[in-house]
Every structure is written in C-alpha cells, then in structure tokens.
C-alpha cells in the first residue's frame, strides 16, 4: 500500500501460508481458549461471582465487571442459529464456498464459526452440530463445527 490510500486502522494477524487460514493475534485473556483448542477442547468463560457464561472471552465479566472469570469446558454441542454460504468476495485467502454460522451452544452462549463436512445445501437453521478442530499450524488450532453424528 502506498500510504496515500487505505484504511489501516485494522492491521492485524497474518495468513498461514499453507492452509489458507487467517491467524489472529491472541488477546491475553483469550489465550486459554486457544490453548484449549490445541488440546481439542472448547473452552468458555464463567464468572465465579455472578455465574455468567461468557463468549467471546473478555477481560472482565460483562454482566458484573468481576475479574474472577474461570474457564470451563463446553460440551461442544449446539444448534445453528443462522448461517450463510460465502460464494464471492471472501477475505484474502479464503476459498469459496464456505459456510459461516452462528451456533447456539448448549451452555447458552452464541459463537460465530464455520461448519465443515457439510454441503451448502444441507445446512439448516436449528440443525444440531458438534465442535471439530482444524490444526492450522503447530501453534494454532481453530474450533469449527460439523453436523452432529448419530448418537453413539
């Protein structure tokens, strides 16, 4: 960019070179989420003072401003609240088509994610999904969701 143009308030993470995934900078309070993802565990915050279940992670509890936020493992199950399939004009590096969805987790928080192992025609609002993990690099694993398999 030549400096004359460009809205550069948003310079941030980088693209991973081999798997076409954006790797963000981690917040200090978000690190346990990403460490959990590396262990293939979906972690969310819970306020030790008021019990509020919290995602996305924050420094203070958005309900009572407590600093006593602990991390709990989520079941990884939820339902599709809404979805879209991106076909055109994706952010740099993303290969179309891909599914973006808002997932209502069993714990009562809503998470933005991708749905994988699912054709664009098969995704539906209300559909049950479960977490899956993409190991993008050695240091970065991204939680995504896939259609819930039959009860085992």
């Amino acid at each position: 960019m030549d400096g004359r143009t460009g809205y550069d308030l948003c310079e941030g993470g980088t693209m991973s070179s081999h798997k076409e995934r954006f790797i963000p900078r981690f917040s200090r309070w978000g690190k346990p989420f990403w460490e959990g993802a590396k262990r293939h565990e979906l972690m969310i915050q819970e306020c030790s003072d008021c019990g509020y279940k919290n995602y996305p992670p924050t420094l203070y509890c958005p309900r009572c401003l407590s600093s006593n936020l602990k991390w709990v493992k989520a079941s990884g199950k939820g339902r599709v609240h809404s979805y879209t399939v991106v076909y055109e004009y994706p952010p740099p590096g993303f290969k179309t088509p891909y599914i973006i969805a808002l997932i209502d987790l069993e714990e009562g928080v809503r998470m933005l994610s991708n749905i994988v192992d699912c054709s664009p025609e098969d995704v539906k609002i209300g559909m049950p999904v479960e977490v899956a993990f993409i190991d993008v690099t050695e240091d970065f694993t991204l939680p995504v969701f896939r259609p819930l398999k039959e009860e085992r």
Partner: protein, 395 residues
C-alpha cells in the same frame, strides 16, 4: 421538563449540499468534500464566517485526506476561520451522521454554537477491489473471534437475512422487492449510481454472493460527498426553508452479531424515544428515509418502528407501498443499495435527502406535501439503532 420539550424544534437543517455518487477517479476526496460543503453554505444563505463548528465525518479510502481534515484543512481552504471554535471528527461507522447531528445538537443547545457545518466525502469507489474487500472484512469485525472464520459485511447481512426469514416467514421474493423499490427511487435521482430499474427475477437470478443474498442484494461502495448546515431555531428563522428536528432516539447494543437479536435489534426502543420527543406517531410520518446497506434492514425497521406488524414488512414493500407514488415512500434517494454506499457518509446522504424532500427540492422524486420524515442510521454489525424525526414545521 416534558420529554418532547427537550429537543423538539430546537435546531434545524438550513442548507444542504451533495456531490453525485459514483466513481470519479479524476477527482480527489478534497474536491468532492469542498463541492458538497460549498453547496451547503450557499444553500443555507449564510456567510461562511458565521460557522461556529465544523464536524467532519471520516473518509475510509483516503487516510491522508482524512487526517488533513482532522487537523483543520477544510477550515483553512474553505476560509471558515471567521469565528470557528470547533473542528472535530465524529466516527461511529454507518451511524456517524446521526451522532454528528447529536453532537451539533449539544453544541447548539448549550449555547456553544449557533451554526454548525457537518460534511463528508468518500473515495471507496476508486479503491482497488482487493482493498475494499480488506476493509469490509476487518472494520468492525473481531480479529480474534470472527476474522478466522472469514466474516465480512455481505456475510453479516446474509446471517441477519436468513434468521429474519426463519423467524418471520418472509420470502426471498419479498426481500428482493426492497431492491425493486430502491431502484425505482434511484431511477428518479440524478445523483444515484444505479439508475436502472430491476425486476424481482433479475435480483434473484444475479450471482449468489453470500446465501441468500445475490449481488443485486448487496451494496456497492462509491465515491461521493454530502454536507449540511445546522442552526439554532432562532437563527433558522432567517432561513428560507428550515427543516426542524423534532425528536431523536438511539441505543447502542453490541459489537458482534453473537450478542444481537437478529430479527429486531434495538429499533423499538430507539423509535419509541424519538416518537415521544417528537410528539408524533408512525401514522403521522409522510416519508421514511431508512438506512439500508442490505434489504432486510429496511424490513426490520418498518416493523420495529411501528409501520408494519412483525413479519408483514416484506409483503408491504412487495405490494408497492414504499415505491414512488406509494403511501409510505421509503429511502427516496435509493439508499446504499441503489444510490451507492458511501462508507460513514451513507447516513449523511440520507439526512440530506430528508431535508431535500421536506424543503420541496427533490425534483422528479419529490413526495407531494411531505411534512414529517423519519430517518435512520446504523453502524457496524448493526451495533446501534439511531432514529431521527424531522418536520417542515414544528407541530
């Protein structure tokens, strides 16, 4: 003091200016900005030396010009230094213009200013498309919690549309009819980019961008500029055609869609506040200048602001009530989807169009006998809901 006495009739728009919306590679952001600002000053019939405050809206596409403005380039080059005591930028994305109006209201009501210039220019239409893609997949999007999943604004509009359709039973044909309505208005607006009318079939057959939104249901970013002059009610008495602010309501609710009610947002509360202050009801409103960016936005607002029952706005637009000649003209300049998207300035363009209609200067698209108009702004992932009610006379 009663709610309605706080704001009603205390300030007025006395002049408007606009540069057409489109792609003007040969013109700089400064040229567009000065064109609109000068037109507004001339239209208001004031001397430029009377301006007490200049409120600048951000230019996304030209960072250099943007910072020039913050450090008072317009005051110097337009010679506004007569008694100007404030030059400041206000920025809240798409809702910038309503917040600029709110700041001007505060300056005027507190006696800090009598005349305020609000101005904006954008050059997004001249940027390379990959740069536009980058801006609209980063600005107002969580780097850590959303960007890794490839979120952008078309996807945000699509997630909202899909959920709204699921909750209300609205059909995709009804969603597409908003584009038909906006294009009909843009066809009558010489300053609009997309002046060709389209059919529902054409909208639905265009390239799929982010399901269920096709390309005709997504906005196009443009170059353009708009400006307006606000004055105290006392100073407005000298103006030819003042357009009074009757009421203003707003809520800021969230940053991410993860925390939003996708079929409603904060419109109900914002609308109630504005209507209470204005002392009018939805049935008194002659025109709605609703912030679109995506078609579902207009439908949610029509319902939540009390113009239609929940789930009925799609049918209302489909049947033509919002078209030229309809009983509730909506977004009469064509909005971001037909006039063209101007970044933070979309709202400024709507405020200018509101004043133009109420001043009776809207040419071919003039709504006959328009007395009261409701105008909205919203920013980011529909993070807020801002409602303004204007009138030709204070009732």
């Amino acid at each position: 003091m009663q709610e309605r006495e706080k704001i009603r009739g205390k300030i007025a728009i006395i002049g408007i200016g606009e540069h057409p919306t489109g792609v003007f590679k040969e013109k700089s952001a400064a040229e567009l900005f000065y064109h609109a600002a000068k037109e507004a000053i001339r239209d208001a019939g004031i001397s430029k030396d009377e301006i007490d405050a200049v409120i600048i809206e951000p230019c996304f596409a030209d960072r250099w010009f943007n910072t020039d403005l913050i450090w008072s380039r317009a005051v110097q080059e337009l010679g506004l230094g007569g008694k100007c005591k404030v030059n400041v930028q206000v920025h809240s994305g798409g809702s910038t213009s309503s917040q600029a109006l709110r700041m001007a209201l505060g300056l005027i009501l507190s006696g800090q200013a009598e005349i305020v210039l609000v101005a904006h220019a954008e050059k997004l239409g001249s940027l390379p498309s990959e740069e536009v893609v980058r801006i609209f997949s980063t600005a107002g999007i969580y780097e850590e919690w959303e960007a890794p999943y490839g979120l952008n604004y078309n996807a945000i509009g699509a997630l909202i549309t899909n959920r709204y359709m699921y909750e209300t039973g609205t059909t995709i044909e009804e969603i597409a009819s908003v584009i038909v309505s906006l294009r009909k208005w843009a066809a009558l607006n010489p300053n609009a980019l997309l002046r060709r009318e389209v059919s529902i079939e054409e909208v639905l057959k265009s390239k799929m961008v982010a399901y269920p939104l096709t390309s005709r249901m997504c906005n196009i970013v443009c170059d353009g500029a708009s400006a307006y002059i606000l004055a105290s009610a006392k100073r407005a008495e000298e103006a030819k055609m003042p357009v009074y602010l009757l009421g203003m309501g707003g809520v800021v609710t969230h940053f991410s869609l993860m925390k939003a009610d996708l079929a409603r947002f904060g419109w109900r509360k914002a609308g109630e506040e504005a209507f209470t202050q204005a002392g009018v009801r939805p049935s008194d409103v002659d025109i709605v200048e609703l912030y679109d960016a995506y078609p579902v936005s207009c439908l949610i607002q029509l319902e939540e602001l009390g113009f239609c029952e929940k789930g009925k706005a799609g049918k209302f637009v489909y049947e033509g009530h919002t078209w030229p000649g309809g009983d509730l003209p909506m977004t009469t300049d064509g909005g971001a989807l037909a006039r063209g998207h101007l970044g933070a300035g979309c709202g400024a363009a709507l405020i200018v169009e509101t004043a133009r209609q109420l001043m009776g200067k809207a040419g071919q698209r003039q709504v006959k006998n328009a007395k009261i108009a409701l105008t909205t702004n919203v920013g980011g992932q529909w993070m807020d809901a801002q409602v303004m009610i204007f009138a030709r006379e204070v009732p």
